[in-house]
Amino acid sequence: MSVIEDIARPDAPDRWREYRRMWATFRRSHSAILGLIIVSAFLILAAIGPWIVPFPDDAYGAVHFERKLQAPNATHWFGTDEVGLDIYTRVIIGARTTLWIGLTVTGIAVLIGVPLGLLAGMSDGVLREVIMRVTDVFLSIPGLILAIAIVGALGPGILNAMFALALVWWPGYVRLVQAKVLSVRNETYVEAARSIGASRARIIFLHVLPNCTSPIIVKASMDMGLAILGAASLGFLGLGAQPPYPEWGAMISIGKNYLPDWWWYSLFPGLAIYLTVLGFNLLGDGLRDMLDPKQR
């Protein structure tokens, strides 16, 4: 119970000093700042998208054959698609879908992977073996293939795609956390905590876990980008979001049939995916330099 109490009472002024120092490191890297800007822009667009788009009705599908496949112009900045929907609107609204996919997939992966990794790292013998071998089995099949197999079993659709991606993603966290726990739990300060009589829970949550968070945060940031890419891939293959749902991968999936004459159809969603994934990757790189400089 005191464990919880302690977590709720962090040493605020000291932490701030530490954060300022980290920020100074982060700021030194141009690419990290670029990543932060892209990710912030993406988050803002996702938040206010529905209120700034010119054709909100186009987001979830309507039909305007009279203005189909128009090249980018003053009214339709990114052009229109084969049923006359405004691609600019759909790309902006797509940011929401994408954010929601990224957060869910990464979130579930962290929620499954981190506790299992902690458990495998802190326990010896059978339990560790079981967890790690199951993890190995998952990791021995390339991620996207496994996701396709799972979607194949469940049927195409955005929810199933997210579920499949989350199922593919957690083993990475088990590996990461287990390896980190194994090194942290042999640190002298963990032995010191035992010598002052700290309970198992206290050692795990106050001494081991906080010293494992940096690589978890870095991986989560990178994985946001990768999960988005994965969901877009499934959408592109027709296994994820189904048109006319505003999802970038699904838009490209149809748009590619209109290449190269109607290039804007797949170009703009493609750029959106590219920028978002790039942003999360640069951000993750910057966080890594900031949080654990040794681990490159």
């Binding site: 021995s140 099949i141 390339p142 991620g143 996207l144 293939i145 496994l146 396709i148 197999a149 979607v151 194949g152 079993a153 049927g155 195409p156 891939s233 592109f236 293959l237 027709g238 296994l239 590619k256 490159r296």
Partner: protein, 166 residues
């Protein structure tokens, strides 16, 4: 389109050569160029990145300085001393990237309409036809494991410390 040569191995280029049709083989190869580039570029980038970081690190070590001081030539230092140490993490990255590439084939085949295992699995998944998916998953999983085994063996061959553990 030139007619397909007799199927012997199932590999278009090889079959064409066996049938004495280098022109067909060339065309088949030509169709692979773009997908191959698309697949290899991302892997190329991260492999270069890892190798560069490792090279910089190992060129900074004392034994390299020592070798320089003893008059070992620059090329020899880079190739024989530094690369030998940098190659291990690079190999690990190649293994990791190979898995990604296997996943990437699915997409690339989708983009180029290249009739490979990936496209086969995708079409099966879209129509919820489960058996082909399992087959493709197993085949690609086996490929991945074999490549990783090869990389582990290469590791052991290159690093005496790893060799001692086996």
């Amino acid at each position: 389109m030139t007619p397909r040569p007799d199927v012997v191995t199932g590999l278009m280029t090889v079959d064409a050569l066996l049938a004495g049709r280098p022109d067909v083989a060339r065309e088949a190869l030509w169709h692979m160029v773009l997908p191959a580039i698309a697949l290899s570029l991302p892997a190329l980038a991260s492999i270069i990145r890892v190798n560069r970081a490792e090279m910089i690190e190992s060129l900074d070590k004392d034994y390299i300085l020592n070798a320089r001081a003893q008059g070992v030539g620059s090329l020899r230092i880079v190739a024989a001393y530094a690369l030998k140490n940098a190659i291990l993490p690079t190999l690990a990255m190649i293994g990791l990237r190979f898995g990604w590439m296997l996943g990437g084939t699915v997409l690339v085949e989708g983009v180029f309409d290249y009739p490979g295992l990936g496209l086969y699995a995708t079409n099966a998944a879209v129509s919820s036809d489960f058996d082909p998916i399992i087959a493709v998953t197993l085949v690609l999983g086996a490929c991945f494991m074999i490549v990783n085994l090869l990389i582990d063996l290469a590791y052991a061959a290159l690093d005496p410390r790893v060799r001692a553990q086996i």
